[in-house]
C-alpha cells in the first residue's frame, strides 16, 4: 500500500543572531531544529510525535504543513511534493492539510463571533455562501457542539476551554481535510475536560478517515489517540514503533528514560533514579555522533564518532542506537 505521507531526510536549520566574532569569521550559526527525519504514514494512520521541549516536534509538524520552509529533504503528501507547492496548488493543499492549534484561548480572534471564525476557511477556500450553514451545522455535530443554543453568535471569551478547543477543531475540519496535525491539542485544558476532547478527536478521525499526527510531550495522551509513536530527541527521531511496544519495551535509552519519567497517578510506583543525566544540550552545537550520548548511561566510544542509523529492530519498530 502506498504511503499517504512520505518524509525523507527532512532537515530544518534556523539561523540565529551572530556574535561579532562569528560575523568577522563569516560563520553562520544555526539551530539544528530538525535533522534528517525520515518516516512514512499510511492513509488513515495516526501517529504521535513525542518529545521534550526543543526536540523539534512542533517544527516537524509545521514543516509537514508547509508553514515553515524546510532546509533539506522531501515531503510527499497525497502525491503533492509539499516543498515545491505554490499558487493554486498550495491553496488546494491547504484545504487537505490542516493544523489544530495548541492553545484554544488564543487561537481564535477575540473580536470574531464563533460563526465567523469557523466560516473563515470557507471564505478563504471560496465555498459558495449558500453551503455555509449546512457545512457549519455538520461540523458542529461532529465535534458535539450542536446541542448548545446560539453558540455561533457568541465570542471566544464567553466559552469554556473545552468548548473553545472544539471550535478550534471544527474550524480545522470544516474544509474536510484528509490530513491533520494537532499540536498539543489538550495541554491547555483541565484534566476533566481533556478526555472529552480526545474522545471527540478519536471519533472524528475514525468517521472521516483522517490521517493524523498528534504532537505531544505526554506519552499517556499519545497512547490514547495514536497506535504508533515517534520519539524525537534534539531534532532527530530516536525511536518509532507501535505505541504499546514503545511503552512496554522502549528500545532507545532516551525512550527508556522518558517512559520511566511519565508521571502516574498511583501511590505505589518506582521512585528510583532515572537512567539519564544532565540536560538537553544546546541545539546550536549538538554532540557529535549520537546526540544523546552525553546523557546516556550506556554510551561507548563509537557513539561519539558515528551517527547511529534508524534501524528496524522488530517488525514496525525502529530505533537509532549503536548498542541495540
Amino acid at each position: 500500500m502506498a504511503s499517504l505521507l512520505d518524509v525523507r531526510g527532512l532537515t530544518k536549520h534556523f539561523p540565529v543572531s551572530r556574535t561579532l566574532r562569528e560575523v568577522a569569521r563569516g560563520e553562520r550559526p544555526v539551530v539544528r531544529a530538525v535533522e534528517d527525519v525520515t518516516f512514512a504514514m499510511d492513509q488513515g494512520e495516526s501517529v504521535g510525535i513525542l518529545g521534550e521541549s526543543g526536540c523539534g516536534k512542533t517544527t516537524t509538524g509545521r514543516l509537514l504543513l508547509k508553514l515553515v520552509e524546510a532546509s533539506e529533504g522531501t515531503i510527499t503528501l497525497d502525491g503533492y511534493d509539499v516543498r515545491a507547492l505554490k499558487g493554486p496548488d498550495l491553496k488546494r493543499f491547504r484545504r487537505h492539510a490542516q493544523l489544530v492549534f495548541q492553545n484554544p484561548f488564543d487561537a481564535l480572534n477575540p473580536r470574531f463571533t464563533l460563526r465567523r471564525s469557523i466560516a473563515e476557511p470557507l471564505l478563504n477556500a471560496g465555498v459558495p455562501k449558500g453551503e455555509w450553514d449546512d457545512r457549519i451545522a455538520a461540523v458542529l455535530k461532529r465535534v458535539h457542539l450542536s446541542g448548545v443554543s446560539d453558540l455561533m453568535e457568541k465570542f471566544p471569551h464567553q466559552l469554556s476551554g473545552g468548548q473553545l478547543q472544539r471550535v478550534v477543531l471544527a474550524r480545522a475540519l470544516i474544509l474536510e481535510p484528509t490530513f491533520i496535525v494537532a499540536d498539543e491539542p489538550v495541554s491547555m485544558l483541565d484534566v476533566s475536560v481533556r478526555a472529552g476532547i480526545l474522545n471527540v478527536m478519536r471519533e472524528v478521525r475514525e468517521t472521516m478517515g483522517l490521517t493524523a499526527i498528534y504532537i505531544s510531550h505526554d506519552l499517556a495522551l499519545v497512547r490514547y489517540v495514536a497506535p504508533r509513536t515517534i520519539v524525537m530527541y534534539l531534532g532527530k527521531i530516536v525511536e518509532d514503533g507501535p505505541t504499546d511496544a514503545v511503552i512496554s519495551r522502549p528500545l532507545h535509552p532516551y525512550a527508556r528514560a522518558l517512559v520511566a519519567a511519565v508521571p502516574v497517578p498511583r501511590v505505589d510506583q518506582d521512585r528510583g533514579a532515572l537512567p539519564i543525566t544532565g540536560m538537553i544540550p544546546d541545539a546550536r552545537n549538538p554532540p557529535s555522533g549520537c546526540r544523546f550520548r552525553d546523557r546516556c548511561p550506556y554510551a561507548v566510544a563509537r557513539c561519539a564518532e558515528e551517527v547511529p542509523a534508524l534501524r528496524e529492530l522488530a517488525p514496525g519498530h525502529r530505533a537509532a542506537c549503536h548498542l541495540l
Binding site: 481533556r194 497512547r223 528514560a257
Partner: protein, 311 residues
C-alpha cells in the same frame, strides 16, 4: 497540616487553590478580602496579623513560590546575586556568610555552585525552577508553598524537581504545600492531599486513602479522567459539564450539577464535612454509600450522559 509533610492542594483551574494558598501568606488581590475563617501557624492566628507581623513571617517562616517563579528572576542580574540580595537585606547576613549560604542553597537544590555566576537566560527551565526553590529556602522557612512548581516543565525535568522537594523534606524536615492540578504529582511527591472543587474542599486525607479509596464523587471522576500508563485499557472518562459560575454558585453541593450520583438533597443543601477515617474527611451527602459509588464510578457508563452535551 502536620509538620515535616508534603501536602498536595489539587483541583482544576478556577477551583480556588491558588487563592487559598496565597491567602495563607496574607497576599490577596486588591479586590479580595478574607471574609472569614482562621489560619493558625505554629499556634499564632495569621489572619489577625498586621503588616509588621507579616514581615517576620513571610519568607522567614512561610515562603511562597509563585506559579511562574522560573520566569520571575531578574534577567540583568546574576542568579547568585539575586539570592545574595535576599540573604543580605532580608536575612541580615554578612558578606562572607551570605556567600557560603548561596553555595549551600545551590547544592541543596542540585545546581553546581559555580553556576551562580550565570544569568537567568543561561539556565534551563528546570534550573530556573530550582533556583526559585533555592530563593524560597534562603531564610530557612518552616513552610514552603509552591504554586504549580512543575507544570511548565518536561517530564524528565519535572521528576528531577519533585525529587528535589522530596529530598529536602527528608534532609531538612521541610513542610511543603504543592498546589497542582496534576494528581500524578500528588501521588509521586505528597503525603497528604486536599482536593478542591469550585472554591471548596471536597475531600482531604492521606494520599493513599484518597487516591485508592476516594469518598467524594469528584475525586473518583478526576481519577478516571486521568491518564495512567500502567492501566491496561486506554480509556479516559471525562466529567461532563463545567465547574459552576462562582458569582452564583449552586445552592447545594457545588459538584451536584456534574455529579452522576446527585440526588434531590444534593441540590438543596450543602453537605457537611465528615470524617470518614482517621485524618480523612469528605463532604458528600452519600458518604455512607461510598463503596458502592466507587464501584459504579469505575464504569464508564456512569459518567456518560446525553452525548450531545458539551463539555
Amino acid at each position: 497540616m502536620p509538620e515535616g509533610e508534603v501536602v498536595g492542594l489539587v483541583g482544576e483551574s478556577g477551583c480556588g487553590k491558588t487563592t487559598a494558598a496565597r491567602a495563607l501568606t496574607g497576599v490577596v488581590p486588591a479586590n479580595a478580602r478574607i471574609a472569614g475563617g482562621r489560619v493558625t501557624f505554629g499556634g499564632r492566628d495569621l489572619l489577625a496579623f498586621g503588616a509588621k507581623d507579616w514581615d517576620g513571617v513571610r519568607w522567614r517562616q512561610i515562603a511562597f513560590i509563585p506559579q511562574s517563579a522560573m520566569n520571575s528572576l531578574d534577567p540583568v542580574y546574576r542568579v547568585g546575586t539575586q539570592i545574595r540580595e535576599v540573604l543580605r537585606h532580608r536575612g541580615g547576613l554578612g558578606r562572607g556568610e551570605s556567600d557560603r549560604r548561596v553555595d549551600e542553597l545551590f547544592s541543596m537544590v542540585g545546581i553546581a555552585p559555580e553556576r551562580q555566576q550565570d544569568y537567568p537566560h543561561q539556565f534551563s527551565g528546570g534550573m530556573r525552577q530550582r533556583a526559585a526553590i533555592a530563593l524560597a529556602l534562603a531564610l530557612n522557612p518552616r513552610l514552603v508553598i509552591a504554586d504549580e512548581p512543575v507544570t511548565a516543565l518536561d517530564v524528565i525535568v519535572q521528576r528531577q524537581v519533585l525529587d528535589t522537594f522530596r529530598d529536602l523534606q527528608v534532609r531538612l524536615g521541610l513542610s511543603a504545600i504543592l498546589v497542582t492540578h496534576d494528581i500524578s504529582v500528588v501521588a509521586y511527591a505528597c503525603d497528604r492531599v486536599v482536593v478542591m472543587y469550585a472554591g471548596k474542599v471536597v475531600e482531604a486525607g492521606p494520599v493513599r486513602a484518597v487516591l485508592e479509596a476516594p469518598s467524594h464523587p469528584y475525586t473518583m471522576g478526576l481519577y478516571n479522567a486521568f491518564p495512567d500508563l500502567g492501566r491496561a485499557s486506554g480509556t479516559l472518562v471525562p466529567i461532563e459539564g463545567n465547574p459552576p459560575d462562582l458569582r452564583d454558585p449552586p445552592k447545594g453541593c457545588r459538584f451536584a450539577p456534574r455529579c452522576p450520583f446527585a440526588v434531590a438533597k444534593c441540590r438543596e443543601a450543602q453537605p457537611p464535612t465528615v470524617t470518614v477515617a482517621p485524618g480523612h474527611t469528605a463532604a458528600c451527602w452519600r458518604l455512607d454509600e461510598a463503596p458502592q459509588l466507587r464501584q459504579l464510578a469505575r464504569e464508564e457508563q456512569t459518567w456518560l450522559r446525553s452525548s450531545t452535551s458539551a463539555a
